[in-house]
Symmetry: C2
Subunit: 260 residues, 2 copies
Amino acid sequence: MNQTQDRGSARRNGPVTRPLVNTVRRPSTVDLIAVELRNAIYGGTLMPGSSVREAEVASQLGVSRGPLRESAQRLVQEGLLVARPGAGLRVVTVGADQIDDLYQARLAIESAAVRQIAALDPEVRRRHIASAEVLFDALESALEDGSDARRIGDADLDLHYGLVEATGNLRLMSFASTLIIQTRIAALSHADGYVVRTDILDVHRTLLRQVSDGDGQAASETLAGHFRQTVDRLLGRLDKPFSTVSGEADGSHFSFNRLP
Amino acid sequence: MNQTQDRGSARRNGPVTRPLVNTVRRPSTVDLIAVELRNAIYGGTLMPGSSVREAEVASQLGVSRGPLRESAQRLVQEGLLVARPGAGLRVVTVGADQIDDLYQARLAIESAAVRQIAALDPEVRRRHIASAEVLFDALESALEDGSDARRIGDADLDLHYGLVEATGNLRLMSFASTLIIQTRIAALSHADGYVVRTDILDVHRTLLRQVSDGDGQAASETLAGHFRQTVDRLLGRLDKPFSTVSGEADGSHFSFNRLP
DNA sequence: TACCTGAAGAATGTCGACAATATAACGATT
DNA sequence: AATCGTTATATTGTCGACATTCTTCAGGTA
């Protein structure tokens, strides 16, 4: 699996948290390692529940255990890793009892995002959601191409992150990034995490329409309904998905890029 | 200044982020140091913009630089510290250009919280907001006692955190804790950060009433209006505060508790 | 057979030391 | 006088090694 670290293709590996203060300065080693770890989790290289042996990962990254441990604490703070004293690091598992809280948190962030965008002046609003519409097209293409569920899920999450990104609020972006990676972890945790609803396009088309129409309240409700359906499906509470495409989790072992 | 680390009086030092997974296990050293650092920032011992020299703080905590650096990375992830390569750690400053985003983020979290609580069944709802009402009484007492602006601000922030805590959503609680500490940082950054509006009681009384009445939409709008006024005041855009109480920032130097 | 006990192994937690870098002070120059 | 370049100091960044803790597995016992 190709873990790239250049910024250009960062989107392909999912959203990435950037430092809150956006000044010009070269990224620290801790930054680079943290990005690498997040990508490894998001990309399925580090599977949920698997233990992260420091010496092993550190040597693969070409660094010592010190910087690796510092980076790991960042992911611990994000809730992507858990550290049991003496027992080391593990990738979190998002259990069924966490799904509700996770999507409530996503609703908090993303609902606020669409409300905020919808409240903008029509002109700037159009400019801000332009990139989100590109991501919607990407989702449409992924569905038309008959991509596997995993790739469709990527496009879905990218779109949701893009909406938050459109606010330009670094705090919201940081929160959204964390929650979306946790969503990915939940999908990787459950066997049937990757199932695609056929109405996914309609929902998101409606969502974007409502945002661009300036109706934040409606967009927020669309989002709430969408999340509620998703939670119900993940919890097996309701109707079965309309179309199911099994996604394969490539079981390739660790393969990081050594840091320069 | 008394930095206590027992859980009982944690509220006095402000909200504290706890690990996302709530299992029984002794806190790691990194946890303890991180709590100590957050309290030092929240309590004004580490002032915004001040540099955090690793060796100095580490020796005061009775630990080595290694664990301290790991803990610091947690606060970096939270946006409470910034780390410039080679130049070390500094406490963040929340500039005027950050106020908007900060309160938008708080609105995202807290608005979702009050909506969520308001949507509960009336009986459980009453039980969940009971602690928040205690915090409201504390705010009322602080105002009646003629406490300084700093203490009133504490009670205010405690109440806001209590509302999020009432959701029981650990993710939202973690976000709220971070944002509230950043709010404190903003207050410590600006000279006139600590001014108290006389209508603060009315606003929060209304807020709690609307939540307990199950009107999440109204509560959310009350919150939005309150934050908008606060931002306008902080940015000096609008009317001057009705009553001003100057808060003193005790300039006492570092004084941590050595970890056991 | 199931459970508890204990020892061996491996991984983590912590520390001290060294190298690399940024900051500050100082002097030279225009 | 102000600015630029240089040097010295202090602090950070990184690493390797050791102490500590958890996990595992073998052995014994009820």
